[in-house]
């Protein structure tokens, strides 16, 4: 009987000790887990333009029309630049063209983060001409004004041309 009592007491002590150990463990952190987070942000640029197409309708010589303006909005996560080039001079598709010196552009009204590079009226080139530069950020804005001179030397005809604007953040 004594032996049985001792065994029971010993068993109780062991169970109690185990319980105390578990109690001490249970109140602390369990299984800390680590999550590694990664993300890659590429160089990105977006450009929106308003005021296109540029249509003058009928212009009676002599006149200089400066009413046409393109609105440019650029969002970029790097510093950027905006350039323009012409596909050719205003042409009627035949032999008649309007001289390059008659059709000019300039950058104007820079918003925050924008620097106008070509701020006075300049001829379009066949290669890129930088209009403006800007810093990283959303919705940087500027205007591009057009000036078109129709004098008596311009043959009466319908003329058209294409200009390509390119925004880059190299």
């Amino acid at each position: 009987m004594k032996r049985r009592t001792k065994m029971m007491a010993l068993t109780g002590v062991i169970l109690l000790a185990g319980f105390m150990v578990l109690m001490s463990i249970g109140g602390f952190a369990a299984n800390p887990e680590t999550v590694n987070v990664s993300v890659t942000v590429p160089a990105t640029i977006q450009m929106n333009m308003t005021g296109m197409p540029v249509s003058y309708g009928s212009l009676v010589p002599p006149t200089t029309d400066t009413s046409k303006t393109l609105g440019v909005t650029i969002s970029s996560n790097k510093d950027w630049s905006l350039a323009v080039k012409k596909g050719g001079d205003l042409s009627d598709g035949g032999v008649n063209t309007i001289p390059s010196a008659n059709f000019l552009f300039r950058g104007q009204n820079p918003g925050a983060g924008v620097t106008i590079v070509t701020g006075s009226y300049t001829q379009f080139g066949l290669a890129d001409t930088t209009v403006a530069t800007g810093t990283r950020g959303a919705s940087r804005t500027l205007d591009v004004n057009y000036s078109l001179l129709i004098d008596w030397n311009v043959e009466a005809a319908a003329y058209s041309a294409t200009h390509t604007y390119t925004a880059t953040n190299p």
Binding site: T5, M8, A9, G12, L15, L16, G18, F19, L22, M23, I25, G26, G27, F28, A29, A30, N31, P32, E33, T34, V35, N36, V37, S38, V39, T40, V41, P42, A43, T44, S75, S76, N77, K78, R136, G137, A138
Partner: protein
């Protein structure tokens, strides 16, 4: 003398579904989210905490803490607290708390805002999740 000792010892098991959150390699400016699941078995009330090792950091700088947040949706009927969407990571930030139960799954959603002011780069961070009984 006979003595009997019986008790339900506090037990806590905790696991998360993934150790990696990869938002991918082409995150143009915008808002993105990724989720993981945390599962708890506990015979006492419990909570999950998270500690950030730092902000998302790359060679060109860090993404501000306010742009990278967390929110939780805990198990229905067992949740006493769940971090609302937009909670910033910190030290021992409370994610979710609940009552005892088995296989208690919490969806933890990361929300990352990438504005145009964030420089292109590869960013990384480490978060440590800890489950405790209370």
């Amino acid at each position: 003398v006979e003595s009997q000792v019986s008790a339900a010892a506090p037990m806590l098991q905790f696991a998360i579904s993934t150790g990696t959150i990869d938002f991918g390699g082409l995150l143009t400016p915008g808002i993105y989210s990724q989720s993981l699941t945390a599962v708890v078995n506990s015979n006492q009330t419990w909570r999950i905490l998270v500690t950030k090792g730092g902000d998302l950091t790359g060679a060109s700088g860090s993404i501000p803490s306010s742009f990278f947040t967390v929110g939780a949706v805990g198990p229905v009927g067992y949740t006493t607290y769940q971090a609302p969407a937009g909670t910033e990571f910190g030290t021992d930030t409370l994610v979710v708390a609940g009552t005892r139960g088995a296989n208690l799954a919490t969806t933890i959603t990361y929300r990352l805002s990438v504005p145009w002011t964030i420089a292109p780069d590869s960013y990384s961070a480490a978060h440590t999740y800890t489950a405790v009984q209370i």
